[in-house]
């Protein structure tokens, strides 16, 4: 190696050392300025002004007199920009270059952008990348169009924009967690409200034995049941199943529960109740694309006369002797047609005859040989014939639990067993 080349190499090393020193100082300065901001975790960028403190830090670190932040539209908020100084930088002149940095998703240097004073300037534009997507650009500018951005400048701006991006990601995550927690809390409240509408006590009436299991698929559900003691020693029971799951179905079930209960309290018959409730909900259900099945039974405890009206609900099962009677739906579900005219089923129950009403969540349970079905339900009930309604119910639930495929999706399930004990 010659003396000349040695001198050249030494000069290069000195230059690199100087650049490294400069970079270290800049990083230290910028870090000092950022620390206070880092301690107050920022929220997601609602506007460019949320990012201005970071921009000012970057400008200070590079000793840049001009800066700009540009954020793309964020769904509910339009695209937004901010320049420093506001009277010195033309956003319009910058816009094409900002978009170029966004499209390339990498830092670019641009010279000869006109400032508002008419002089050309030099800019370093670095995209703000969140989860692999450029959501905006941070830029720093110098009034001297010949200004050269050093490797250290670019590295510093890149690191700081990465830092801003990670803060945004963390803040978005926190916000999304908070939103989820709020939704979960509201769902819990909705669940409590729905539970409060479901009967806690069974009617204390001589002549019947009643057992019910109401089981929403999650915190809330689209099934509901209830009972009303009507004049002249008549007990009415009902079950509804609103299509779908979650809050819309639960709201539908709660409102339907209230409507049916009120109509029954007015002493209306099962057919009248379904007719009136259908016309009441038709328009709302049409707007909301909802439908609901409903079945209403009334039992005259003096005579044993059982009556039913059924709108789209699974058949009511009545055990008479060695046979099952099936009372099928005689009208489409509520909300399908503007008016319905269900037919009335009626028969006089004998002592110890069993009536089972259920929602399709039970019969549509998946087993390893297909759906559990009405056949599965009947078989299970037959295991406990001659026992109390509660024991029949338990036998059905235990069989369903055993037959159900593990891990299969479950729907809301409601089952009601009513035994008439005689006059």
């Amino acid at each position: 190696m010659t003396l000349d080349s040695l001198a050249t190499e030494r000069a290069r090393v000195q230059q690199l050392e100087a650049e490294l020193e400069e970079m270290t100082v800049m990083l230290a300065q910028s870090w000092d300025q950022l620390v206070s901001l880092m301690q107050d975790a920022p929220g997601p960028p609602n506007s460019t002004t949320d990012i201005v403190p970071f921009l000012e830090s970057i400008m200070a670190a590079l000793d840049a007199p001009m800066g700009a932040v540009y954020l793309l539209d964020r769904g509910d908020q339009p695209a937004d920009w901010f320049v420093i100084p506001s009277e010195g930088v033309s956003f319009t002149a910058l816009r094409a270059s900002l978009n170029a940095a966004l499209e390339r998703c990498e830092a670019i240097t641009v010279v000869a952008i006109d400032t508002l004073s008419g002089y050309p300037s030099a800019w370093l534009l670095t995209p703000l990348v969140v989860s692999g997507r450029a959501i905006g650009v941070v830029g720093v500018g110098f009034a001297n169009a010949d200004h050269e951005f050093k490797v250290g400048d670019k590295a510093l701006v890149r690191r700081m924009t990465e830092r801003v991006a990670s803060q945004i990601i963390a803040a978005s995550l926190r916000e999304s967690e908070a939103r989820e927690a709020k939704i979960a809390h509201e769902l819990q409240i909705a669940g409590l409200i729905q539970r409060s509408t479901q009967p806690i006590h069974y009617p204390q009436i001589n002549g019947i034995d009643l057992a019910v299991d109401w089981r929403p698929a999650s915190i809330v559900g689209g099934d509901a049941w209830g009972w009303v003691q009507q004049p002249n020693n008549v007990l009415a029971v009902f079950m509804v199943d609103v299509a779908g799951k979650g809050l819309p179905a639960a709201l539908g079930a709660v409102s339907l529960h209230t409507l049916i209960k009120m109509a029954l309290r007015l002493g209306l018959t099962p057919v009248e109740v379904l007719r009136h409730v259908n016309s009441e909900v038709y328009e709302t259900y049409t707007a909301a694309d909802l439908l609901a099945t409903a079945v209403i039974l009334s039992l005259d405890l003096s005579s044993g006369l059982l009556m039913q009206a059924n709108a789209g609900h699974p058949p009511t099962l009545i055990r008479r002797g060695d046979e099952w009677l099936r009372w099928r739906s005689t009208a489409p579900p509520l909300g399908v047609l503007a008016s319905i005219e269900p037919e009335l089923h009626a028969l006089a129950l004998d002592a110890d005859e069993l009536v089972i009403v259920y929602s399709d969540g039970l019969t549509e349970l998946k087993t390893d040989s297909g759906f559990w079905g009405e056949a599965g339900l009947k078989r299970a009930a037959e295991l406990a014939f001659g026992q109390s309604a509660k024991q029949v119910l338990r036998a059905i639930l235990e069989s369903a639990q055993t037959a159900m495929l593990r891990g299969a999706d479950e729907d809301d399930q409601t089952i009601l067993c009513l035994q008439y004990l005689g006059r």
Binding site: D289, L290, L291, T293, S329, A331, P332, L337, D360, E364
Partner: protein, 111 residues
């Protein structure tokens, strides 16, 4: 889900399942196709329908009637027929054995 148009009828071949997993797609198709008063839903391949699937078909029926048309179901499978029967929906929908028969029903209705 396969979709074709014929005259003023939109013919939709429904998927194997008609439930919450497919209802949105089906609704979007017929809501976008505002110029088609007749919606023909081919249920030949549909082996499962739940209450959400029924609600989707009802929504299509109401939409078609608002447009002066009708929703006609084609060749439902045995499983689907049982559900229509149990829910009394077989009295609500017009059901045709083939797409040609459904188109003929639509043409009659138009005249």
């Amino acid at each position: 889900m396969k979709i074709v148009s014929y005259g003023d009828a939109l013919i939709i071949q429904a998927d194997e399942r008609l439930d919450a997993s497919t209802n949105q797609q089906m609704k979007e198709h017929w809501q976008r196709a505002a110029s088609f008063p007749f919606l023909i839903v081919d249920l030949e391949n549909t082996t499962f329908i739940d209450s959400v699937g029924l609600a989707t078909l009802v929504s299509g029926l109401k939409l078609a009637r608002q447009r002066g048309g009708e929703l006609i179901l084609v060749n439902p499978s045995e499983n689907v027929r049982i559900i229509f029967d149990l829910t009394h929906m077989d009295r609500v929908f017009q059901i045709a054995p083939t797409i040609q028969a459904a188109l003929a029903l639509a043409a009659n209705r138009k005249n």
